[in-house]
């Protein structure tokens, strides 16, 4: 496994503010990983995410993207490698049709119009928006608008995608669509970091989870371990998904569940009923 992003003793504070938003974070993300970064607002997880693609640069310590120091490397070299999808699609969309929106990034890279077209086609098909090229982005429903913002970042062909709160404001169908898209993109080889409050989403898509609170990395490990560390999560005011809460409550009744998802719990029940 090769390291794609590494933060070494990363400290960050915003200009004019005395308190540290990040206090010595050491985080390693390997090529091909899919990780969730969780934690309350104000705890530092968005600040961390923005340090991963050079939107923010460390006050102290180092962030390396494919070995490049974000402080000394030109921004476009970092942005090319790490794409950032903002929480609110309307903060990101500014072109008048879907094609132009997705073409904007690659055009800025100075690619030929032929290559730009290829990339737009490729990105739109990855997110399932082929056929929408001529639509006005604001005529799309909220779920599709989100897919569009993902496509407009994909067209830059980054190796890493950072998704900030992808499921906020989405309905259940939108969540399922995003869950399958994230898994698909990861299978296609993208390294993905998801900043999220949505614990059910975390349980369903991310093999690894990092908890950030009070500017520090509190937990970092397999999602199952993290979501079952309830005492620590409780201190960070995070409620695990309902299936995890149910598993924990059933443990108190003498059953040994450790499910993350509904399907897992069903499978565990099946075994239990066959071999009580």
């Amino acid at each position: 496994m090769s390291i794609i992003i590494e933060t070494k003793d990363l400290w960050f504070r915003y200009p004019g503010i005395d308190t540290w938003a990040l206090k010595g974070i050491n985080l390693t993300i390997n090529t091909g990983e899919l990780i969730a970064i969780i934690g309350q607002n104000g705890g530092g997880k968005s600040t961390l995410a923005k340090n991963l693609n050079g939107l923010l640069k460390p006050t102290k310590g180092v962030v390396l993207v494919e070995g490049l120091d974000t402080k000394t490397t030109p921004s476009h070299e970092i942005v090319k490698r790490v794409g950032y999808v903002f929480q609110n699609p309307s903060h990101q969309i500014f072109e008048s049709n879907v094609f132009q929106e997705v073409a904007y990034g690659p055009r800025n890279l100075g690619l030929s119009e032929e290559e730009v077209k290829d990339r737009v086609r490729w990105a739109l098909s990855l997110v399932g928006l082929e056929g929408y090229e001529d639509h006005n982005p604001y005529d799309l429903d909220y779920g599709k608008m989100k897919l569009l913002t993902v496509a407009s970042v994909l067209s830059m062909k980054p190796k890493v995608l950072v998704l900030d709160e992808p499921t906020t404001g989405q309905d259940h169908a939108g969540r399922h669509l995003l869950a399958s898209l994230v898994k698909k993109l990861n299978r296609e080889g993208f390294t993905i970091a998801i900043i999220t409050h949505d614990m059910r989403f975390v349980a369903e898509v991310a093999p690894r989870t990092v908890l950030i609170a009070d500017g520090q990395k509190i937990l970092d490990g397999p999602t199952r371990e993290v979501l079952y560390t309830v005492d620590v999560l409780k201190k960070a005011a995070i409620k695990p998904p309902q299936i995890v809460q149910l598993s924990l409550a059933l443990r108190e009744h003498g059953f040994s569940f450790s499910s993350l998802t509904l399907q897992e719990m069903l499978d565990e029940m099946r075994k239990l009923i066959k071999n009580p």
Partner: protein, 290 residues
């Protein structure tokens, strides 16, 4: 805030509506009733007509938006079509999805923001003071009276929006996805206030995606899809229609869906829980005896 009774506060009959710009009808022959003290949850994917239905209860539809309108909405015996939005304002309080849409932008402090609507109604000073204090206390914003509304967190701002509505003492509180834009702490704060209102007998209509939470306080549920009512009845009856809900993109609570899967895949009959506490009881018994 009255007691639950037989009095029908809301009657919606064959409500059909299209915005001036929409090709198709966004509400199609919608029927339901809400009695005093009841909580009705409106469920449905984005774009199914939930917001439009909320706006039809306080008269924004059709008075503000115009469009094609059929059927009837009756609030406290008065037909919305024949009642002005300002008259309805004291009967129906609408809480928007994004609290920033609700905040007047004219008030410098939380206190003034809550007082704003009452001042517009020309209420006496002493009554305004009493109602503002009561509303602020109710949503737990005491101590923040002098803050600017825009310095509040998302959850605080949405609770302020609820306070501005409560201060008018409406007969019905309508909430359009009040937690959709909030972080988990904000969601928890706002849902706690809603649960308190529900338990204390307020009449509430709430569109909400957080079904696992809604299951704790809703009496009835109405499922909208493409403007049509797909299901309507006691919340427990609606949530157990797992296949129907999932086919239109709504996830029932995980614990409810699990009972359905156990029945379908393991052939075991279990009651369908809708809350975690019910689920623990049902599943521990089921596994204990099998």
């Amino acid at each position: 805030m009255g007691q639950r009774g037989n009095e029908k506060v809301i009657i919606v009959e064959n409500l059909t509506y299209a915005y001036p710009t929409s090709k198709d009808f966004v509400l199609k022959k919608v029927n339901f009733e809400v009695h005093r003290g009841e909580v009705l949850a409106i469920l449905g994917p984005n774009g199914s007509g939930k917001s439009t239905l909320c706006k039809s209860l306080n008269g924004l539809v059709p008075h503000f938006y115009g469009g094609r309108y059929g059927g009837k909405v009756i609030i406290d015996g008065q037909e919305v079509l024949n009642t002005s939005v300002s008259q309805l304002a004291t009967k129906v309080g609408l809480v928007f999805q994004d609290p920033e849409d609700q905040i007047s932008g004219l008030a410098l402090t939380v206190w003034e923001e809550v007082a704003f609507g009452l001042m517009m109604l020309g209420k006496p000073k002493e009554e305004i003071r009493q109602r503002v204090e009561e509303a602020i206390r109710y949503v737990g914003l005491e101590g923040l009276e002098k803050r600017s509304p825009f310095e509040l967190s998302g959850g605080q701002m949405q609770r302020l929006a609820i306070a501005t509505v409560l201060a008018l003492r409406p007969d019905v509180i309508v909430m359009d996805e009040p937690t959709a834009q909030l972080d988990p702490i904000g969601k928890f704060e706002v849902l706690s206030v809603i649960e308190k209102l529900a338990n204390e007998g307020s009449t509430i209509v709430i569109a909400e995606h957080e079904i696992e939470e809604v299951a704790y306080f809703a009496d009835k549920a109405l499922v909208l899809f493409n403007g049509e009512v797909i299901a309507y009845g006691p919340v427990r009856e609606v949530l157990r229609k797992v296949d129907e809900l999932k086919s239109i993109g709504i996830d029932p609570p995980s614990v409810t869906e699990l009972a359905h899967a156990i029945k379908k895949e393991l052939g075991l009959e279990a009651e369908y829980p809708i809350t975690l506490e019910e689920a623990v009881k049902i599943y521990s018994e089921l596994l204990g005896v099998s």
